[in-house]
Symmetry: none
């Protein structure tokens, strides 16, 4: 059972988890994703919430539905995801972040400090 962030929709966090698993390789292309009911039971959340997450991923072409069978990681999902996420990060998140880091007067050393702990 994952512990969900308070202020972000569960279905969104769940989708993100799947994306991470695809990137990390713990879900490989062509592999079946755990069923909606299975995830719902395991995470103790409503099937509809799981369904929404999977639906989002299917809309983005990361998952493939086979009717009456289940949902599968789409071929090419890993590279597509990785490229897409990188793009989004570099274009939208990082510029704002960098401005913020500079505003706060933080440098590389201070930022690296945390990782030792």
């Amino acid at each position: 059972m994952t512990d969900w962030q308070e202020h972000e929709p569960i279905y969104h966090q769940l989708a993100q988890l799947v994306i991470e698993q695809i990137i990390r390789g713990s879900l490989t292309e062509g592999e079946a994703v755990p069923s909606v009911r299975q995830v719902a039971a395991q995470e103790r959340i409503n099937p509809l919430t799981v369904s929404r997450a999977y639906q989002m991923l299917a809309d983005d072409g990361l998952l493939e539905k086979r009717r009456g069978v289940g949902m599968f990681v789409a071929p090419g999902a890993r590279s597509a995801t990785l490229a897409g996420e990188r793009q989004r990060f570099l274009d939208h998140e990082w510029p704002q972040l960098l401005a913020r880091i500079r505003l706060l007067g933080l440098n590389l050393e201070e930022l690296m400090n945390g990782e030792a702990g």
Copy 2:
């Protein structure tokens, strides 16, 4: 007119803007912040939303209300803000971001130097 982020409350984003201005020095201690009505008109948002943002800042001791006159940047606001923001950033936001950067296979040093992409 700022363009607001989709998934974060406007009042929160607005407060953040004021904080940045204080840190940057474009709002100096003792200076009056623009009136609720003024901001509301300029940004085309509800006055209540502006009010809420200012209230938050007042609660944190960054703004001072002077009845019938307006709101002013509190003395000591800049250093307090800067310290607080740095703390919050390093403790809560940065760890997640670093994990994300690693997951995407990006190099932090290059990112900091603007060499990425």
Copy 3:
């Protein structure tokens, strides 16, 4: 109260209705769309079902959300919709349809007959 088709999701039919109203001009750009609750009450369906329809339209850029206020027909929605629907029809639906019409040996006259009744 609309009478819904049996075999197509209500939220999908509802979205289609809104699209038709935009094309037809009974919903003009910038105009507020009836609220989720309002439609739900009027059509005697669940608010969530209405919400899904509106969400689809917002995702396609046909509706604009203003938080805490409501949803509005996006600027440029009419021409975008019309162009998009035409494209989709000509590219995907019509070729199959034409093949079918020819297979059944139907001609223009037979097809026009129905419209008199």
Copy 4:
């Protein structure tokens, strides 16, 4: 391997394919239709799905079962099918399609002549 439409049951689409073949004459009356297993393997779908399609056609009198042998196109199937399909198309599908064509501002004559776009 056919690529199936998203929102219509595969068994229904499969039955439609057989009907088209009968009308087109690529399946003649008295001829055996390919076995359930054969189709299932070729189309990579569940044998039950194929079976269901064939069953529907048999129920409509378009196919005949001969136990232990296979299924065959029934005598009189072609004319019966053609008449039935025309009826169904003109009565149920075409009126909606025509309304849609009108809504999109398309010209039926041009469409029939392939001049559209």
